[in-house]
């Protein structure tokens, strides 16, 4: 039997980059096919081609043995291709049913008739175990539920091939488990599934076959049962990867950061952090685990002095820190901040690397005096840090925009860590980075820990939290569900806490 989908020698270039280089791939019905690769390996470009959003420069696509030229997503949908995008393509103020029928002909065109659609949605959700209320407003649903809506949206359009782009990135472990059950069900009903990920454990668990992409090329396609994590990692990165970080035991010292009964509002004026208390000590990493959007951003911004506290207290080195405290001044508040959004908050993209490296300190000696910049000093500083932090940039005058994500993050690390801070606030510092850059960030964090810094480390990646932290605080809807030690807790238990179950104690 011919495979459901066959991609032959697809090449796609964007100005300056070959995103896909003669990619060949086969996916059969009743198969879950994983597409594994680092960021920038070309996974998303490939599936955007399959969904009609990009046109390949050369190569052929065959669906059910027939060559097709996909010219729009409407066309791809008509041919039975469905896609669940990494960033959901749902319209928050509309209902589930409205989102699902959007763009389709109504039985009473042009009148909107949601009755039959709602019945079909209910039928589909029962058939595949995707419970969802058709009349619910999408913005009120949890991320996991929104993902189900996306899957139903594809099934409602009679998708035979379902493409999921990094579907687990935003889910709790339990939600991932449920998603995998749904995918197995889809497979048994005869669907073909393409599952994109860069997480090896998930690929090993769910896929039948796996194709590894690196730098736009297919490295290999393997049967999952006949390969292992180490082999896949080697193919993905191009070298051996150490899975274990070397974390020497260190005795924590006195507390550097004390947060007591902190309350913080989000941008919409709703409560984002409620009654949160914890300490971070010298030589200690306090990991903050939780699904994205449970108050992590607001917590870090409040401690960084970028967002007012609505209540409670923040003490740094024994002194009360208030909203707008000058984070770059004095000894009391020697705080480094590695913000979540490195492009918007961490860097000025159109400034040079050298300028970004003094972004905190440029108003004072040795970089300036009486309002005049000392360009030589700025330049020497840049050259020193570029070397020390292995920033891959030909020249300090290159704009930050031109750097890869990993190198952008190194610029921020260099600026923040070179001052030997007492407290480091690291918000998702490895998000979007490849394996090499992630390792670099994690090693630097452990170096700082050994040096004596107190580190508040926010991440949505459980593995990372478990390997780096001395203690783990789990956030759910702005509250701490408990603080636990990594050696004394299972991933399952952490998952339940991330989903809102109170466990453990305040250590």
């Amino acid at each position: 039997m011919a495979p459901f989908l066959r991609v032959e020698e697809i090449t796609k270039t964007f100005p300056g980059v070959v995103a896909n280089d003669r990619v060949t791939l086969e996916v059969s019905a009743r198969e879950i096919h994983a597409l594994l690769g680092e960021n920038g390996a070309g996974k998303t470009t490939l599936v955007n081609i399959l969904y009609g959003l990009h046109r390949p420069d050369s190569g052929r696509i065959l669906l059910r043995g027939q060559e097709v030229h996909l010219h729009s997503s409407r066309h791809a949908i008509a041919l039975g291709v469905g896609m669940v995008h990494q960033h959901f393509m749902l319209i928050p103020p509309l209902t589930v049913a409205e989102n699902i029928v959007l763009g389709m002909r109504s039985p009473r065109e042009p009148l909107l008739d949601l009755g039959p659609a709602s019945r079909e949605i209910t039928r589909l959700s029962q058939a595949y175990g995707l419970e969802v209320d058709p009349s619910a407003l999408v913005w009120q649903l949890s991320v996991g539920m929104q993902q189900r809506v996306e899957i139903i949206k594809a099934l409602y359009r009679k998708a035979d091939l379902l493409i999921l782009d990094e579907p687990t990135a935003v889910l709790t472990p339990q939600e991932i488990h449920e998603l995998f059950n749904i995918l197995r069900r889809l497979k048994s009903e005869g669907h073909a599934v393409i599952f994109i990920s860069h997480k090896l454990d998930e690929v090993m668990e769910i896929s039948d076959r796996v194709t590894v992409l690196r730098d736009g090329r297919v490295v290999s396609t393997a049967e999952t049962a006949r390969t292992d994590k180490a082999a896949l990692a080697r193919m993905m990165v191009g070298r051996d990867v150490l899975f274990r970080l070397d974390k020497p035991p260190v005795t924590p010292g006195e507390p550097v950061l004390r947060v007591q009964r902190l309350r913080v509002m989000n941008d919409r004026g709703q409560s984002a952090i409620q009654d949160v208390s914890f300490d971070v000590h010298r030589n200690e990493v306090l990991g903050v685990a939780g699904v994205d959007g449970n108050g992590q951003r607001e917590l870090v911004e409040a401690v960084a002095g970028l967002r007012p506290a609505a209540g409670g207290q923040i003490h740094i080195n024994g002194q009360t820190a208030l909203y707008g405290y000058p984070a770059d001044q004095g000894h009391a508040f020697n705080v480094a901040h590695i913000p979540e959004d490195r492009q918007k908050v961490g860097l000025v993209l159109d400034f040079s690397v050298g300028e970004n490296l003094v972004a905190r300190l440029f108003t004072r000696l040795p970089f300036a005096r009486y309002g005049f910049l000392f360009l030589d000093a700025i330049r020497r500083n840049a050259e020193r840090l570029i070397k020390e932090f292995d920033i891959r940039v030909p020249h300090p005058d290159v704009k930050a925009r031109a750097l890869s994500g990993g190198n952008q993050q190194k610029v921020i690390l260099a600026r923040e860590l070179s001052r030997e801070p007492d407290l480091i606030l690291a918000a998702q510092p490895t998000r979007g980075l490849d394996v090499g850059a992630t390792e670099f960030v994690e090693r630097r964090m452990l170096e700082q820990r050994a040096r004596g810094a107190a580190i508040l480390y926010v991440s949505t990646e459980l593995e990372e939290i478990l390997s780096l932290s001395d203690r783990i605080a789990v956030l759910h809807r702005g509250e701490i569900m408990g603080i636990v030690r990594p050696g004394e807790v299972t991933e399952e238990a952490l998952g339940l806490m991330m989903a809102g179950e109170k466990r453990g104690t305040y250590l």
């Binding site: 949908i77 319209i91 103020p93 509309l94 959007l102 763009g103 389709m104 909107l112």
Partner: protein
């Protein structure tokens, strides 16, 4: 004093004038509402109205038919909006800046065109105007009959259109597509909606409607065109959309409020109140300003004002 005030407020003239003055605003606002729900901010309503007003006047003057004038005014608005769409949708120019440019262009263009065609003394060239429609039977009812049922036909039409727009928004697939495009154009595109087409069509509609609103001023209520005669009504219509929280009913109520403020100041002037008339003329604008303060940070369509580039992931 109080008695005078009550007399002023309850006078049937005031209600009549409110409906009359609301109508041009509401035409422009209902047009703008449609394209704003599709994510295009249209501050150019003022210029579109002005173009509609002049064109309607000139065509009515030359053909002798106010109805042809009205149609020409609407089409002038549509064509001008097409120009705006090319700049702001296809070439993705900043919507505010290009709309401001459009307003300035139309202010200059209408002034020049007026002089070129009829010379400086337009006052002597009275155009025919759209007649009042005294609805048989209803217009002669005692009390409210003359107040509610002796208007231009367009006054009735615009209130019917409020319902039509609401129906389109919430009961048709077109409306769903428009709302989706204004909230999350990329999501709309992934399900096969042509974002650019939706924005073009809604902008053309807004031009057509603003053109009608402008034409009403020149061949409905007056019989002439004066430079800058819209006097900020396009901006007030724009504000009515925001104060009305981007809903048809809200936009109608906001337009009625602004129309009422205008009617009231005229009424107070006519009463000979000892207030310099310049202050009275300010009233509708002051009410608009206060309304926008009161509106706070209301929920605008999420993609409002953001140009959209199709197919760029």
């Amino acid at each position: 004093m109080l008695e005078t005030l009550l007399q002023l407020l309850w006078s049937s003239d005031l209600i009549y004038a409110t409906l009359r003055l609301t109508t041009p605003l509401l035409f422009a606002a209902l047009g703008g509402l449609m394209c704003e729900r599709a994510g295009v901010l249209n501050i150019g309503l003022e210029g579109l109205m002005l173009g509609g007003a002049l064109t309607a006047y000139l065509v009515a003057l030359k053909t002798g038919s106010p109805w042809l004038g009205l149609l020409a005014g609407a089409l002038a608005g549509l064509v001008t909006a097409l120009l705006f769409a090319v700049v702001a949708v296809t070439f993705r120019a900043n919507q505010i800046v290009s709309a401001v440019g459009l307003n300035i262009l139309m202010l200059g263009l209408t002034g020049v065109a007026l002089r070129a065609v009829v010379g400086l003394s337009s006052g002597q060239n009275a155009a025919p105007t759209i007649p009042i429609w005294n609805i048989p039977g209803l217009g002669d009812l005692p009390g409210l009959g003359p107040v509610l049922f002796r208007h231009l036909p367009l006054v009735y039409l615009v209130f019917i259109l409020v319902g039509v727009v609401a129906f389109i928004f919430y009961r048709t697939t077109w409306g769903l597509a428009i709302r989706a495009v204004g909230e999350h154009p990329r999501a709309a595109e992934t399900v096969g909606i042509n974002v650019i087409q939706v924005r073009y069509l809604t902008l053309l509609w807004s031009g057509f409607m603003a053109g009608v609103g402008g034409a009403l001023l020149s061949v409905g209520y007056l019989n002439t065109f004066q430079e800058g005669m819209t006097a900020g009504r396009g901006f007030i219509a724009f504000s009515a959309i925001i104060f009305g929280r981007w809903t048809p009913l809200g936009t109608m109520l906001a337009s009625l409020l602004f129309g009422f403020a205008d009617a009231l100041q005229l009424r107070i002037q006519a009463f000979g109140a000892p207030i310099p008339y310049q202050f009275l003329v300010m009233l509708p604008y002051v009410v608009t300003l206060l309304a926008l303060f009161g509106a706070g940070r209301s929920q605008s369509p999420a993609a409002s004002g953001a140009p959209y580039a199709p197919g760029e992931a």
